[in-house]
Subunit: 164 residues, 2 copies
Amino acid sequence: MDSLEDTDARLRESAEKLALALSQSGMQKTTARVMTALLFSQRQTMTAGDLCDALKISSGAVSGAVNQLIPTGMIERVPAPGSRRDHYRFREHAWATLMGNQNALLAGMCAAAAEGIEIAGPESIAGHRLDEMQDFYGFMQHEMAALIETWRQRREARPGTTSA
Amino acid sequence: MDSLEDTDARLRESAEKLALALSQSGMQKTTARVMTALLFSQRQTMTAGDLCDALKISSGAVSGAVNQLIPTGMIERVPAPGSRRDHYRFREHAWATLMGNQNALLAGMCAAAAEGIEIAGPESIAGHRLDEMQDFYGFMQHEMAALIETWRQRREARPGTTSA
DNA sequence: GCCCACTTTCAGATATCTTTGAATATTCCG
DNA sequence: CGGAATATTCAAAGATATCTGAAAGTGGGC
């Protein structure tokens, strides 16, 4: 069996790999690195200093990343007892939250299609293309929300970690 | 009622707005502009020259964008009868294809979580976090594919444009 | 109320990504 | 097979986004 240090090193490597993939899908690189560092950490929380140290980035970069992550619901600031350092934690159900946020995107696509149809007319060439788009995103918007809810309930019913 | 030129101008404006939104969600700007130009066009197809002209970009940029779009299934090259210019067209069901492609991403998330669990162990702190992640993306991967299939069938059953 | 540990902000430096423009390759037609 | 119309590629320019480092702001504890 590997030593603990080795395990940690391999976890960081794994975290970096995922961060790289996420950054290629549109997420900022540092933001992704901070997120995966918290996700793969063997601790419940990490301080800003921990993150600077682990990722070799400046405190300014950590601050920026953290304040980008918090509004999305991926991580949260946890009150630190007896310390004035902020502790950060990867949130329970963060992934479901993240995907739920995409509903706004889907709605935006719907709206864009509707706008185009209004301009071009529903029976025009562009109108038909946009009609399919509107139909698809309207459907997805509705069904995705339901899907996430289904997952939430399914997981709630399991012997899972109901908040440590 | 608006004149045709005015309609066209407003469509282009709408297209640009959507392109901007898409580029903020990770898509390359020019690629997004080419895509939305084809999406909002009142013609069935556009040539590379048309795109250069409409978007005020160089032929090199069009070439790059188009060759990025084609593999994703969003647009297709259509044989041009009596012309050696390539014509491009927004593909039927492009949005469903696009979303279907994301399945690879979901699978990647699953795999990343599994890798982390393997390293950290399922009962570790990171292990529990990653377990939820794996569960979520595993679920989504399966259900999303089903959802897209449902939409496809639902639309097939409608009096929609079954390929012009 | 003051001090100190920590966080945030911001201008400048850096790194990264994108576009252009022209040379090169391709391919259709006669 | 030759010629001309297009498409593609690629180096260099330009634009953008991002990080750093230091100065300024915040708030808890004594």
